[in-house]
Amino acid sequence: MWSARSNGLSSVASARLKFDVPVAPAMKKTDWDKRIQRAVELAERYSSAAEVLAFYRHILEFQKTLRADVASSSSPAGGDKAAFREQLNLDIAVQQLPALLALVQRTGPPKLAQEAAEIGAGKLHLSSPPCYASSEEQREMLRSFLLSTDANGPESNHFFARVLLQPQAEHLAATQQTQSADSSASVCPACGARPQVAVLRPEGEGGKRFLVCSFCATEWEFRRILCPVCGEVDHQKLPRYSAEDFAAVRVEACDTCKYYLKSVDMTVDGLAVPLVDEIATASLDIWAVEHGFNKISPNLMGF
């Protein structure tokens, strides 16, 4: 939280400050407690998202219990995204599935709970890609998620896969510390998934933009006034929409490709936890969609 200056200047303790490189936040062990605590706070602050956050909190607490260090951390050639996914341990994930299904049936929203029940009970699930409930088929479900290029559709089977594999992915990405070579990569340099949210971190008088991966939560530098989807740079075509209700979160849209993502401005609220604040401001997503914009990638709660 107390990151020292990051305006590209080395400090005498260069160990702590990287010289001449925008300091990406240290990719240390996922701080689940921080996310859980933030989810609780925001549930109080934004009643509109209370139900969603309450469920998300359960999911976070579940993810916290999962062993993340099962993914082999034998680092593949940096940025080899396929190899990255190969290293995630599906068997463990399959073992963890029943517990998740139970949790969702107990605490999840109706449709998701019903689905959990069906997967658990081995009924045929009609959503595509089809997935069946034998453990082999469950494994296949997780696998199909990993192989899908857009590794985060809103389909609920993707929901289960994301919940189970995300801790492994985060752990793996952290151990690999993949850094993007340029500041205009629109997909995660570690796992290749699309960005979930942008975060602005203090850099001098300004806010340096990073994108947060929707799967492995890697943050990579992504320069300002540039559309992550179509590469638009015309500032007139890149409106930012903000609401008084959310001081630090805004919609960063593109009039050219009509995609958007939200950004969390840490120069306004240093206590924000991007992935959680992103979910807590679902009403901004609704506003954006109503106004004809498409989200780059829906979040874990399906928004």
Binding site: L9, S10, F19, D20, A181, D182, S183, R223, V233
Partner: protein
């Protein structure tokens, strides 16, 4: 800057002199600080005042304003005496080994050979290389005798006198086959002459002239040259300067001395090295590149003069032929001048520029005299300049001699000012002291047009580091304000319309200037930027690079320019800034693979996106970097070409064994320690001269105290003070961190930070005169006087100069008669430049704002 802002972080040693970056470039100054923090680099600051830059320096020397050449000459002497030089670099990358013609004479008496006292012009024919081949180790000739010199000195005078009657004939050219002595022993080789020239700049002499105690100078000299201890080439030193050097009647020669020192030590072309001018304003670099000044055309092409009866004559005159030792290679890049020039004419006059009409060469005015800044005001004062356009240029405040400029404007017929704030130039008739009766006599019609602020305009600025950076317009101009380019276009189109309707003197260039902008009265700067880059006018191709272009396509770079009218380019130097790939100066890539701070994909840097100039010199003869930890470019044996982290500033396929010189813009291909022929007006080596207003006679040669080719101006406004008349305090002017020129006096925050003008006075002098801080003092020069509060400070010490005790004072320039504090009656409503003299550097025509004489009294 030969290098760039970020590159300063790569240095091991900084000499900051004639500049004050901590105060005037705070955000750029993070990089010197970075070098200190990260590389333990040392910082030497030399300045008349202990500045905020000095406050973080490792060593500070207080120098008498204007004594810089003596200090740097002393440095050169020290480096030579103590073998703190880069031998291989010197022999192979500079003209140190070249032999100079007999008859050349050093200025022991203050004059080089060839001076004509009548015209105050040098005949430079003796400032030339000797023809011939390799003289290495050959019979050593006797040093030139008196006789030689006498002859040498006499001979040219007559020719010069002849020349002076009419326009002087074009100077003789450099020999194609230059004689040289790689052992550097020949008594007339540049190296020996250099030694001889600066042997007079002993530490004792440096102390006499600069006022810097000998031991302190030696400390500085030893520290700076320590990067070249025993000729080791690993470390690099940089020299950083600003207008503290340019604003002297010998400014160009100060910079030359610095360049020579850097060549001598092998610091040019290297990361963390170079000679780095910190420009004072956001687009001064661009304005120079784009020839906002009378004596050049865009891309530093020489203006035509009346003897250029046609395009060919002109091109023959200005296109240099290679001049080098036969055994060496020279790229001589300026040999492409005809391509640059013809492409420029095509951009200017489009289809009206044809082979048959010399590409409209005659449309360009011919220049054979000095029309520079101070001459404009001088001639307006004398009545020959009737009208003036001033777009964002506050000439009354800028001076020199503001009163002369005000009185000049009184004599003009019309003045057109485009500004965003009320400025002193358009309001010259409201200057303090002008009575209602005077007003009735002032017949100047003044138009004050509201222009647009920076945030309301798009377009390109070029920073000190030669980076072109496009900015976008954030909002429209307020009220009835208009975009500057629209105002200019609308005035021009109206004039063109009048010539169409009514005819008039030589209307062709006005009627035929190309104006193919979608909205003629609102030319888009993007369209202009593309025109500046240039395009193919016919299908062209280049077999070497296998690039071929269709007519109408943007040019990828100046290598594609032609001299047959098949290409156009408004400024060859910017060719490559807006290609078919798009606007390069709009790029914002933040990657820096080498870690050297090159940022190849951020904006675009001239020439050819090269971030450090002369970077071939960062390698040894074999093409390997002098310091592998700072590898910029290198020779790739397998690929048989020059490659690297930066764009090689070199002929890409020239093998090291071809021995091509790294300084490709010189016909010799090497760095010029000795500048031959006409390149400098006042000498091939810098010599120390006193400022025009000086407290002492030049200790080197009292008989020739000041720069011999500098002319004083003659109007009754032009008075120059002497110590005899009581002007015995040296005064200098400068800017503050908190303010910007004559602009932020309109911003409350900046005014709060520094509300009022002041005069910095040495505590000792103040005590003598009974002046206490905050009391009003009057500073008087031969021109005028100036009243402000005294800042009594220990940061300016009295100094002993040539045995005499001397005081220096200084004053910031930011206040005039229009502004927040001015409006509140908290200033004397006087521009600081009321005091400064009208006299200019003979090479750059920059006025001598720094180091003039004043009297000081309590009010």
């Amino acid at each position: 800057m030969t290098n760039g802002w970020i590159d300063i972080k790569n240095t091991d040693m900084m000499l900051i002199m004639g500049g004050n970056p901590a105060e005037n470039h705070p955000c750029g100054f993070k990089w010197p600080v970075e070098a200190k923090r990260n590389r333990n680099a040392k910082m030497i600051v030399v300045d008349p005042r202990f500045t905020r830059t000095a406050a973080v320096a490792d060593l500070f020397c207080q120098i008498r304003a204007g004594a810089d050449i003596a200090f740097l000459g002393g440095m050169i002497n020290y480096a030579l005496e103590n073998n703190r030089i880069a031998k291989d670099y010197l022999v192979n990358y500079t003209n140190a080994a070249f032999i100079i013609k007999e008859g050349f004479k050093l200025p022991e008496d203050g004059l080089f050979s060839g001076f004509d006292a009548a015209t105050k012009i040098y005949d430079k024919s003796s400032w030339n290389y000797q023809e011939g081949g390799n003289e290495t180790g050959k019979a050593v000739l006797a040093a030139p005798t008196e006789g030689h010199e006498a002859k040498a000195a006499l001979m040219p005078v007559s020719t010069a006198a002849k020349g002076a009657a009419s326009t002087p004939p074009p100077p003789p050219s450099l020999p194609p086959n230059i004689a040289y002595d790689l052992s550097l022993q020949h008594p007339r080789c540049v190296y020996q002459l250099l030694k001889q020239q600066y042997s007079r700049y002993t530490p004792e002499m440096v102390e006499r002239i600069t006022g810097i105690p000998k031991d302190q100078f030696l400390k500085a000299a030893d520290l700076f040259t320590s990067v070249r201890k025993n000729g080791d080439m690993k470390k690099v030193a940089t020299i950083i300067y600003a207008v503290g050097w340019t604003q002297h009647s010998f400014g160009t020669q100060i910079i030359r001395t610095a360049a020579m020192l850097q060549l001598l030590m092998g610091n040019v072309g290297r990361a963390g090295g170079g000679v780095n001018a910190l420009r004072g304003h956001s687009n001064i670099q661009g304005a120079t590149d784009m020839a906002g000044i009378f004596d050049i055309l865009p891309g530093y092409l020489k203006v035509p003069n009346p003897t250029d009866k046609d395009l060919k004559t002109y091109l023959d005159r200005i296109t240099p032929k290679p001049a080098k030792p036969n055994e060496w290679e020279s790229f001589n890049y300026w040999s492409n001048t005809p391509k640059f020039m013809v492409s420029f004419l095509k951009a200017m006059y489009g289809n009206a520029a044809t082979k048959d009409n010399d590409f409209a060469f005659q449309y360009l005015p011919k220049v054979d005299r000095n029309y520079s800044w101070v001459n404009i005001w001088n001639d307006m004062y004398e009545g020959t300049v009737k009208g003036m356009f001033a777009f964002g240029m506050n000439g009354v405040m800028i001076g020199p001699d503001s009163q002369k400029n005000i009185d000049a404007l009184k004599k003009a017929d019309f003045l057109v000012v485009c500004e965003i704030y009320p400025d002193e130039t358009s309001a010259f008739w409201q200057a303090p002291g002008i009575t209602p009766d005077d007003l009735k006599q002032i017949n100047t019609t003044v138009y004050r047009l509201p222009g647009a602020g920076f945030a309301e305009k798009d377009g390109t600025f070029v920073n000190s580091a030669r980076w072109l950076q496009w900015k976008n317009a954030a909002l429209p101009p307020p009220g009835d304000c208009r975009l500057d380019q629209d105002i200019l276009a609308q005035i021009f189109l109206k004039i063109r319309e009048l010539y169409q309707k009514e005819g008039g003197k030589f209307p062709d260039p006005i009627l035929k200037a190309s104006w193919a902008y979608t909205l003629p009265a609102h030319p888009s700067l993007s369209e202009i930027a593309k025109e500046i880059n240039g395009k193919a006018l016919a299908d062209i191709s280049d077999e070497k690079t296998a690039i071929s272009l269709k007519a109408g396509q943007q040019l990828p770079g100046f290598a594609m320019l032609h001299d047959d009218g098949t290409t156009s380019s408004g400024n060859w130097l910017y060719c490559g800034s807006w290609t078919e790939a798009g606007p390069m100066m709009q790029r914002r890539g933040t990657e820096d693979p080498s870690g050297l701070g090159i940022y190849p994909n951020w904006g675009w840097s001239w020439p050819a996106n090269r971030r450090v100039l002369y970077n071939r010199a960062s390698c040894d003869l074999a093409g390997k970097p002098w310091d592998p930890t700072r590898s910029q470019v290198w020779w790739n044996e397998t690929a048989q070409k020059w490659v690297g982290n930066d764009v090689p500033d070199f002929k890409p396929d020239s093998k090291p064994e071809e021995h091509m010189g790294p300084f490709i813009m010189n016909p010799e291909g090497v760095g010029r320690i000795f500048v031959p022929l006409g390149a400098m007006a006042d000498g091939p080596f810098p010599e120390f001269y006193e400022p025009i207003e000086s407290p002492i006679e030049n200790p080197l040669h009292p008989s020739q105290s000041t720069n011999p080719v500098v002319k004083k101006y003659k109007t009754k406004m032009d008075k120059y003070g002497t110590p005899k008349e009581g002007y015995n305090i040296v005064c200098t002017t400068y800017r503050l961190t908190e303010h910007y020129h004559y602009w932020t006096k309109n911003n409350p925050m900046n005014v709060e930070l520094v509300p009022e003008p002041f005069v910095e006075i040495p505590a000792e002098l103040a005590d003598q005169m009974g002046i206490r801080g905050g009391e009003k003092v009057k500073v008087t020069s031969a021109r005028s006087d100036y009243i402000a509060k005294a800042m009594v400070t220990k940061r300016i010490k009295p100094m002993m100069v040539d045995g005499k005790k001397l005081y220096q004072i200084g004053m910031p320039i930011h206040w005039g008669f229009l502004g927040i504090s001015e409006g509140e009656g908290r200033t004397a409503k006087m521009p600081a430049n009321l005091l400064t003299p009208t006299v200019v550097d003979p090479n750059a025509y920059t006025p001598e704002f720094k180091g003039f004489l004043v009297k000081l009294e309590k009010v």
